[in-house]
Each structure stands twice: as structure tokens, then as C-alpha cells.
């Protein structure tokens, strides 16, 4: 065990892992986090806590992680390189581990132009791959990048994110190889709607044997409506939603669309379970946490180990 997190144990035991996502609130009220926990507790192995996603200021991912932990959910803390230089990143890695966080997802973060503070300085002292390498070094070698010894190495199961649907496609698997070389133990993917393309991606991963080095957790997001699908296709960079998916969710009335979206998500998970190298799913039910249980349960993934 590298960090001894629940997620690491679940994967090591060969179970099909389930993670979900929880965006901290836009305020200091811890209740906003707590009230989501009954929808998640017992249904997932770990829960991502986003780090100011889309560059919109929210409660810090560390604070959100601690509130989840207090309520019996294992946090998977996200950390972006957009806002902090290497000094702050190292410090927060140490702090998170000291407080009991055992999973860390290393990201570069959405550019600040998307958020409420487009005037903010963009830091990017190091990139997400260098952050993986940095934390892996701190954890496994017990050293700072300066070479100085750590008094207590951080214990973190390290993850990264990939978008198999971004361009250019032919560097997507080599770039994952870079992340694995840097220290990624697991990877969560961008939301999958184009399953055919994702299967091709997994084939390329298997060809390089990467699926044996890194646990791939396939990302899924249930569609709430045809409108949401169209909006994401149009506005989210690298979001690949095939026309037949939009056609299908549009085939029923507005009232029935949420349930169809959930059913489609469950079908997708069923198919992902059969893809060699996929070791779990990452259910990103955006502001729809109350549906996680239904999705995980109907996909045959309950009870959790």
C-alpha cells in the first residue's frame, strides 16, 4: 500500500471501484457540504472534492475534504496548479496528509478566464504532471524537491485526469504514459458519451500495457435533459457528445428526460464494466448527488466492499 486509502484498498482487492464528485459551496456554510453526504455515504469508495472548478471561487478542497471525512466519506482531494506555486502546493500536500486525506488528484485546472475572476494572475509554476512527480517523490523518497528530508512523508494515493476526446488524439495515450511515469496510481477520465471512441482509447492503452500500471476509472455524467447535453456539447471544450446520444435523450418529453438520462448512464456503466482495463467508474452527478445511489445500485455496484 502506498497510502492505505479506502480507494487504494478497493482497487488492490480487484473490486470495481466507484467514486463520485462533490463541489464545495460558494460560501463558508459547512451545512452545504454535510447535506450532500447522506446521498453518498456507503454508495461510493471515495468522493472527489473539486478545487475551485471552472475557476469559480468556492470553499477550499481541503476544507470540503475534511467535512466529508467527518461525515464518513473518504475524500479524494483535487488540487490544481493554476492558483498556487510549488511552495504553496507542497505545503498543502503536507497539510492534507496530516489531516488524514489519503487520495489526491493532480490537475492543471480550468483557465481563470472561465470564472468570476478573469483578472486573476495565472500561476502555473509547475504543471499537473510535475505535481504528480513532486508528490510521488515526497511520498516515496521522503524528500522535498530541494533534496531536503521530510519529517514525515505524505501518504497520498495519486490520481490524474485524462480527456480521451481532446485533440490531438494521437498524444492522448502517450500523455497518460507520462502521467503514469510521473506517479499516477489511478486516472479518472472526462465524461464519456462517445463509448466507441473511448473503447478505441482503451485498446490503445492496453496495447502499451498501461492498464496494468494505472487503474482507469471511467468518468460518467448522467444527463438531466436534452438541453444540458446540447449545452455541454457546445460550451465545454473537449466534450464529445455524439448526435445519437442527443437524439435519444430528446426522444422523450422534458419530464421523462431526467430518468432516461439516468437509465442511459446505468447502461453506459454496464458496458464500461466489460471493457478490459476499466477498473471502476467516476460518477460525476453534477449538483445531482441524490441520484448517485440509484445509479450505483442499478448498475449492480452495491453494496460497496
Amino acid at each position: 500500500m502506498k497510502a492505505g486509502s479506502n480507494l487504494e484498498k478497493v482497487l488492490a482487492a480487484g473490486h470495481f471501484a466507484v467514486t463520485a464528485e462533490c463541489g464545495p459551496p460558494r460560501g463558508a456554510d459547512p451545512e452545504q457540504v454535510r447535506k450532500k453526504t447522506p446521498f453518498l455515504k456507503g454508495f461510493i469508495d471515495a468522493c472527489n472534492v473539486t478545487d475551485n472548478q471552472t475557476s469559480v471561487v468556492r470553499m477550499s478542497s481541503l476544507a470540503g475534504s475534511m467535512i466529508l471525512a467527518e461525515n464518513g466519506i473518504e475524500p479524494l482531494m483535487q488540487m490544481v496548479t493554476r492558483d498556487r506555486n510549488r511552495i504553496a502546493l507542497q505545503s498543502d500536500v503536507l497539510g492534507a496528509s496530516a489531516l488524514g486525506v489519503r487520495n489526491l488528484l493532480c490537475l492543471s485546472g480550468d483557465h481563470q478566464t472561465f470564472g468570476d475572476d478573469p483578472e486573476a494572475k495565472n500561476v502555473h509554476d509547475i504543471d499537473s504532471i510535475q505535481l504528480l512527480d513532486l508528490v510521488r517523490m515526497m511520498r516515496d523518497e521522503g524528500k522535498f524537491p530541494s533534496g531536503k528530508e521530510l519529517k514525515g512523508a505524505p501518504k497520498l494515493f495519486l490520481g490524474c485526469a485524462v480527456n480521451p476526446f481532446a485533440d490531438p488524439y494521437d498524444i492522448r495515450v502517450p500523455r497518460l504514459a507520462l502521467k503514469v511515469a510521473a506517479g499516477a496510481d489511478f486516472v479518472q477520465t472526462q465524461c464519456i458519451y462517445n463509448i466507441d471512441k473511448f473503447e478505441r482509447y482503451m485498446e490503445d492503452i492496453r496495447q502499451r500495457g498501461l492498464h496494468e500500471k494505472v487503474a482507469v476509472l471511467a468518468g460518467v455524467t448522467p444527463l438531466k435533459s436534452a438541453g444540458m447535453a446540447k449545452f455541454m456539447k457546445r460550451n465545454v471544450a473537449g466534450m464529445d457528445i455524439p448526435d445519437e446520444v442527443i437524439k435519444r435523450i430528446s426522444s422523450v418529453g422534458k419530464k421523462e428526460q431526467p430518468q432516461l438520462g439516468i437509465d442511459m448512464c446505468i447502461e453506459l456503466i454496464e458496458r464500461l464494466k466489460g471493457v478490459e482495463g476499466v477498473r471502476g467508474v467516476h460518477v460525476m452527478a453534477i449538483e445531482w448527488e441524490e441520484k448517485v445511489e440509484q445509479i450505483v445500485s442499478k448498475a449492480g455496484l452495491l453494496p460497496r466492499p
Binding site: T81, R82, R86, S108, G109, D110, H111, T113, F114, N122, H124, D125, I126, D127, S128, I129, Q130, D133, L134, P145, A161, V162, N163, A166, D167, P168, I171, P174, R175, A177, L178, A181, A182, Q190, A237, G238
Partner: protein, 222 residues
């Protein structure tokens, strides 16, 4: 070259409001090439300022000058004989020029008439684009001659990120993805084998982050 562009006229008028006699100083260097601060721009801006001030019955006397370079002391000093006759200087040189004027003419207020934007190139007539961030530790030999620091919106050293679509950056469809350009070049140069090399964290000491920079060439200072 260093690329700049004009400040709004209203902003300049506000700066010089208390003055009646000013020098408007252009520069024959970079800002002439990017059409922001050369002789011609001095004439145009001077006319615009005079007209605006006449309109409010507060006439402005302007001495129009264009220095060979505002970043070299010898050319700045050509202003010395008459500088004392004026109340202020508006420089439409780059930020370096404006500051060097301020250093050399301690008693005169110096105002910037342009914004200094970036080190870049003329992509086509009337269109300039950034190419260099002056990080002080060039790595262009590793990236096919395209700079990830200047051309990637996140300056990442292992790109492209997941926001690259159809060759453009997630921040704007008009911004080319720097890493798509790098990958295209590496492929064309048969250098893709270097793509999977893990790059160490960059040292920013040679960049602005290490504090204001200076180069001393002993062979030339002696």
C-alpha cells in the same frame, strides 16, 4: 520586437490635465515597427491632444520629438537642452523607454502614452502576436521552436491539456493551442520520441520571479 498599443485618448488627457506645455516623445525602435509610438504616431496623437484641449478652451503646447531609441542614454540626452522648458513628457515608447526617461529627467513628470503588451511578431499587416515571455532560459530546441511558456495559456511543459480542441485553446477559439503547434512541429521534425520525456520543474529564477534582472558583460564594461 516589443509590441505596444495606444492608450485611450481620454486616459492621456486625464494624465496631462494640469499641464500646458509638454513634450510628446516617440521612439524609432520597436514601437515604430508596431505602429504604436513612432514619428507618425507622435504627429497623430499630438493633433488629437491639441484638438481636445482647444475644445475645452485649455490650449496645450506640444513639442513633438522622436528619439532614435528611448532605451539608450545617449539618445535620451538629446532632449536635455530643451527639457527644462516643459512641464511634463508623454512618452509613447515602451515601458522601458518611459522609465528610462523618468530616471534621466528627475524633475519632469513622465506619462505613458501607450500600453506595452508583449514581445512578438507581425503576423500580417496590422496584426501582432506574442511569441516570447523572456523567461531567461530558452528551451525552444526541445519544443520544435514553439514556446510552451508563451504560447500555452497555462504555460504547461507537458501538453496539450484536455482543453485542446481542433487546434485551438479552451480559452478562445481564436487562440491556437500552443501544444498542438508544438506536437505538429515535433512530428514534422521527426522528434516525437522526445514527447514522452518528463521535464523537470522549470526554474523561474531567470524570469521576473527571481527579482528584477540585469546582465553584466565584463568584456564590454571593462
Amino acid at each position: 520586437m516589443i509590441v505596444g498599443n495606444a492608450k485611450p485618448l481620454a486616459e492621456i488627457l486625464q494624465m496631462i490635465e494640469p499641464h500646458q506645455k509638454i513634450i510628446l516623445a516617440g521612439c524609432h525602435g520597436c514601437v515604430t515597427v508596431c505602429r504604436a509610438g513612432g514619428e507618425k504616431e507622435v504627429q497623430i496623437l499630438a493633433s488629437a491632444l491639441r484638438l481636445a484641449r482647444e475644445a475645452v478652451k485649455n490650449p496645450l503646447e506640444i513639442r513633438e520629438v522622436s528619439l532614435e531609441r528611448q532605451c539608450d542614454p545617449e539618445y535620451l540626452e538629446t532632449m536635455r537642452p530643451y527639457a527644462g522648458d516643459y512641464q511634463a513628457v508623454v512618452s509613447i515608447g515602451c515601458g522601458a523607454g518611459v522609465q528610462f526617461l523618468a530616471e534621466h529627467f528627475a524633475a519632469l513628470p513622465i506619462y505613458p502614452g501607450i500600453n506595452t503588451n508583449f514581445i512578438g511578431v507581425t503576423e500580417r499587416q496590422g496584426e501582432w502576436a506574442e511569441r516570447c515571455q523572456a523567461c531567461g532560459d530558452c528551451m525552444l530546441h526541445l519544443t520544435g521552436g514553439i514556446c510552451p511558456i508563451a504560447r500555452c495559456s497555462k504555460s504547461i511543459l507537458h501538453g496539450p491539456c484536455g482543453g485542446s480542441v481542433d487546434g485551438h485553446c479552451e480559452i478562445d477559439k481564436d487562440v491556437p493551442c500552443g501544444w498542438q503547434l508544438i506536437v505538429d512541429r515535433l512530428r514534422a521534425l521527426n522528434m516525437m520520441d522526445s514527447y514522452e520525456k518528463l521535464r523537470p520543474m522549470k526554474s523561474w529564477r531567470t524570469s521576473r520571479d527571481g527579482g528584477p534582472r540585469r546582465i553584466v558583460r565584463e568584456d564590454l564594461t571593462r
